[in-house]
Amino acid sequence: MLTDRHREQLLGYTMIAPVAIFLAALVAYPFLSAIYLSLTEKIVGYPAHFVGLRNYANLLDSGRFRIVAWNSAVFTVASIAVKLVIGMAMALALHQVVRGNQFIRGILLLPWIIPTVVIALTWKWLLDLFRGLVNVTLIDVGVVKSGVHWLGDPSLAMLSVVMANIWRGFPFFGVSFLAALQTVPQELYDAADVDGAGSWQKFWRITLPSIKSVVAVVTLLSTIVTLNDFNIVFIMTRGGPGAATHIFATYSYELGIMSQRWGVAMAASMASLPLVALLIVGVVRYLHREEE
């Protein structure tokens, strides 16, 4: 005979079972399967053979993978840093706007709701050497004599894909920060005004500490998404010129789909996992500390 407590526990488990099954099927299984595949020599169409950490060792030994890892780091850090700054500026500005706030917010959200493929193709066209709007404008106003090699020069190509990524992603930062700003009590600012605090001091001492949890979570989420980005780089440069913009996702695609080497492709895409895991642990611990 079940006691009330046991019955309650059973009911609790029953209630969370659908979600648990759903998560196991759609998150845990693919994730664990990817980890397993990364430890195998798996060629498309053939059975997988366990090889332990050999794929990872080979990748670490590969000069090409080191370039890819460096490119991924540059792409992610540069994108996130600028998105953070622009997103914050957008939120602070919108927070002050009283009339037309909703309309402006809607307009600024556009880059975030447009499909990434469209964004990448648009940027590719904008930066085209011959017919791109950017080069045509620069030439017409006399800034340059001939078109800038936005997608051909290795460093400018990285800058270009970062620009496209920033344009797509900054509204997410801005809107999230704006929502957080609206929860900061006005009394704090009024008190700071009485104490004679300037705008900068109010930002550092009141605004930022009040919304830092949101900043941490948004930055973490965006870092994960940016680190795994594929569309922008693949459409704009295909990882080129040479390997100048090759990142984890495009490299994994090249290995897994074009070369049919799933094992090593999985290892390449898993390579950023420790970093992401560290970030997640760090942010979660920080948030717990804040709550306590």
């Binding site: 090699h149 936005w150 051909g152 290795p154 010129p241 390997a243 100048a244 290995l255 074009m258």
Partner: protein, 434 residues
């Protein structure tokens, strides 16, 4: 009144309604369903003809046909998923390396009987197309057509600077310099060396024309001969590094950007399939009269062109209606159907069987160049047959990476060849030639 009695009129009414609403199966109802995957080309009218032909053939075989398409960009994404999930279509149009890959996995049916039937109508398979479909004495696919890569050039510009159309890689560099010096184009040389067919196909033609193939006649790895390869690399990379007749942006071009740049009048040369001719013709483009094509260049070892864009019909073993699928392929490749498709393809679909090559349809200046390109072309993995390893050399961009390493990373041509050899050896060690 019993329940049964009450329900009887309702049951009768239901039967009548179902009989009236249900679709009429018709006198030629399909006995089954077939799926067909094909390439979506840059010539939509040709695609339409192919679809109509395929549907007609399926009808003859008493089958319903569902057609799906892919582009060169997403072909292997689609096939990779299907290989793993064992859901390959009943009829698969495969690229130049597809038959080798799938036959090696044991996933393609023997098509020798179909090939036998087709050769009776269209003549023998071209020897250079055979290497991509025949393994161990059996045909695993039926060659469909080749899309030859030719050299597009602006004849008005060449006339203006008094240059003959280039016949060698060096001549392209020299003429490009003249065009630049004349102030006509800043970057006339539109050879992209990127991760598309417009990059890797010319990369093979370049290396082979300098005698720098990486395998022997049996398809076994021998290594890229360093001397000829370095010579070839120096010639083409000088356009980017020394003469500055090619723009770094070309290295990031997509498969269609060179078409667009050529038609925008921004470049003098570019390698491409005949689709530019179709686009100029259908848009009555102002540059049509100034556009000309020529065979891709030759080198010290001859004109060894790559025949990379070759499509082939395979029947995967996954399908349950192999006989019908083969019948449909045989019908699509019958003389009547083939001629309809070929003559509606704007000279994009070049036959890989001997007889239609002599058709008057090709008897135009462009047609002759296009046919000649296919006749001279070599399969991926030349001078050996197409093997999974050769396929991977192409798909993993080793050859174009070798060239761009010199241009972008500023490594020496010697070091770039060494790196490429290391990567190719690793591929052949992993995928030994059987």
């Amino acid at each position: 009144m019993s329940t049964l009695t009450r329900l009887t009129p309702l049951a009768v009414l239901l039967i009548v309604v179902v009989a009236l609403v249900a679709p009429d199966p018709g006198p030629t109802a399909a006995a089954g369903k077939l799926s067909l995957w094909r390439l979506k080309t840059y010539i939509p009218p040709a695609d339409k003809i192919l679809d109509a032909n395929a549907q007609e053939c399926a009808k003859k075989a008493g089958m319903e046909l569902a057609i799906q398409t892919y582009t060169f960009d997403d072909m292997w994404t689609k096939y990779t998923a299907a290989i793993e999930s064992k859901t390959l279509p009943d009829i698969a149009e495969l690229d130049a390396v597809g038959p080798a890959r799938l036959a090696n996995l044991g996933r393609l049916s023997d098509m020798s009987d179909v090939v036998g039937g087709v050769t009776k109508e269209l003549g023998p398979i071209l020897a250079n197309a055979e290497g991509a479909v025949k393994f161990g004495g059996k045909y695993y696919a039926v060659p469909h057509y080749g899309i030859p890569l030719v050299l597009f050039y602006r004849k008005d510009i060449l006339e203006k600077i008094g240059a003959e159309p280039p016949d060698t890689w060096e001549a392209i560099q020299q003429i490009s310099q003249k065009v630049k010096q004349a102030g006509i184009h800043d970057f006339p040389n539109g050879f992209p060396w990127n991760r598309t067919g417009d990059g890797y196909d010319p990369a093979m033609s370049l290396l082979w024309s300098y005698g720098a193939a990486w395998v022997d006649k049996s398809g076994k790895f021998t290594g890229i001969p360093k001397g000829p390869a370095v010579q070839a690399l120096k010639v083409v990379t000088s356009a980017y590094l020394v003469d500055k007749t090619a723009a770094f942006d070309y290295l990031s071009w997509s498969g269609s950007t060179n078409n667009e740049s050529f038609m925008a009048g921004k470049i003098t040369f570019t390698p491409n399939g005949p689709s530019i001719l179709f686009q100029e013709e259908s848009n009555k483009h102002p540059l049509q009269k100034d556009t000309a094509i020529k065979l891709m260049p030759k080198g010290p070892a001859g004109r060894n062109l790559a025949l990379t864009f070759v499509m082939n019909w395979g029947v995967p073993v996954d399908g349950k209606q192999q006989k019908e699928a083969k019948a449909v392929v045989g019908c699509i490749m019958s003389r009547t159907q083939w001629m309809k498709y070929m003559t509606g393809s704007f000279q994009q679909a070049v036959p890989l069987f001997a007889r239609p090559l002599d058709d008057p349809y090709w008897n135009t200046p462009n047609g002759k160049t296009i046919v000649e390109t296919v006749k001279l072309g070599h399969p991926v993995g030349w001078p050996g047959p197409t093997t999974p390893a050769a396929a991977e050399v192409v798909s993993s961009n080793v050859l174009t990476d070798m060239i761009t390493q010199v241009i972008v990373d500023k490594v020496t041509p010697e070091a770039a060849v060494d790196e490429a050899n290391k990567r190719i050896k690793e591929i052949y060690d992993r995928l030994p030639v059987k």
